[in-house]
Symmetry: C2
DNA sequence: TTTATGATTTAACCCCGGTTAAATCATAAG
DNA sequence: CTTATGATTTAACCGGGGTTAAATCATAAA
């Protein structure tokens, strides 16, 4: 039976197994907010449903069927997040909680409706990729703002939605997907970063910058390097 | 604990207790699609939660607390129905099923958002009254189309949403809230009715007409009677 | 007033998703 | 190679919402 609990476990396992080869009971317990015993029981249940391959004492991984379900749930979640923000005016640090509940009850028709209304988007409000209906996950960037060299121009592509408070802070800084930023300075020994956003200088905590994923700005960065190249050649 | 099941029972009891003084186990079993035994157990549970006054073998009625919850759930349901139809283009015979699932999970903030986006409406897409946030139920009409005298002009105010197929049929006939209709003829012995809708003659089954709630048309009906009065006076 | 019948409740059971406490396993350290 | 320790599983339990079958109640009819 595909209950909300089953969908939640599968979704969480999907996200965790990108980092670790096999997902352990304890990390699952921590992420679901339940006991290790509950997780063990659920993993057996998921294995029974052929959603997971589970080796006792050695963790679990999603089966192809489990992965399909995970992607469906994530698609629901991210479409909902974008819809709540775009169409209903939710602040971007509140959409996650609401989508968390809605994702398990909306119909395929509802999903199609909001996808259509949003123009079949590839990324949600935080820049997270929205799986397509046939289970393809759009590519996204993995570089973070805090590791950039001083002087580079970047475009914000994604902001981690793990922490709502951090999300609010980063949003107030103006670091939203699509925004162009130049790293101006880096305080030594893990101090704050100075960036230029929309013509303004801004000081950003390195922890926040770690959660901002960026891509090198084609327009801005090229013109910057052209300047340098030009300078050398002259 | 206010679970989806509790909310559903309370909502159904609310609707049933407008007709019968006390709601019986068997009617609840029929409406919830469960066994009488399950209903008995749930009624005890609801009594425990102070949502219902329950006398074994003699049925139940909502307590003031139960009524409050029922109205909140119905408000959720009807706002959702209108939103699905209005903002998302759902056909009016499909909104009920989707709202049935969503009504238990949306937050108060979500409710406020759609209420605002819809302009704080008093009636849903079928003409059913939407309880206000403080628990007031807007007044609605109780006269049905099939009992009208031949010749009268009426405005459709509400259509029963009990049966989706009937709803589709009635909608195809053009009998939607706000539409003005004149009853032209009535076939004897429960035969079909002939009505004028938007300048067109239409034949309607009496069973369908029983589910269409109307109000006498102020504009049209007055001018009709004026004509007659004028004729007599001349 | 008794009795038959249908409505209702009780009893025993099921699954789901959780809990705590005890047992067991994997593994790093001695 | 043994052992200590932390991770994991097992066992027994709980509440929520359902089931079927048996017992009990309410009531209309004889």
């Amino acid at each position: 039976m595909r209950t909300a609990a089953v969908e939640d476990y599968v979704k969480i396992i999907y996200k965790l197994q990108t980092q670790t080869e096999t997902v352990s009971t304890s990390t699952l317990a921590e992420r679901t907010g339940t006991s290790a015993a509950a997780v063990t029981k659920m993993l057996k249940h998921l294995a029974q449903l052929n959603l997971v391959s589970y080796t006792p004492y050695h963790g679990a991984r999603l089966s192809p069927m489990g992965e399909t379900i995970a992607l469906e749930v994530i698609r629901h979640h991210r479409l909902l997040e974008l819809y709540l923000a775009q169409a209903m005016g939710y602040p971007w640090d509140e959409v996650d909680a609401e989508a968390e509940k809605l994702e398990h009850v909306i119909s395929e028709e509802f999903e199609d409706s909001i996808a259509r209304l949003l123009g079949f988007p590839d990324f949600d409000i935080h820049g997270d990729p929205i799986p397509t209906r046939d289970g393809q996950m759009p590519k996204t960037v993995t570089e973070t703002l805090d590791t950039q060299a001083v002087g580079t121009w970047v475009v914000v592509r994604r902001v981690s939605d793990a922490d709502a408070a951090l999300l609010r802070y980063v949003g107030e800084c103006g670091l939203k997907p699509g925004v162009e930023v130049q790293l101006l300075a880096r305080e030594p020994f893990g101090g704050s970063l100075t960036v230029e956003i929309a013509g303004l200088e801004r000081r950003i905590s390195p922890q926040a910058a770690q959660n901002v994923f960026v891509e090198h700005s084609l327009s801005r960065d090229l013109s910057e390097s052209e300047k340098k190249v030009g300078g050398i050649l002259e």
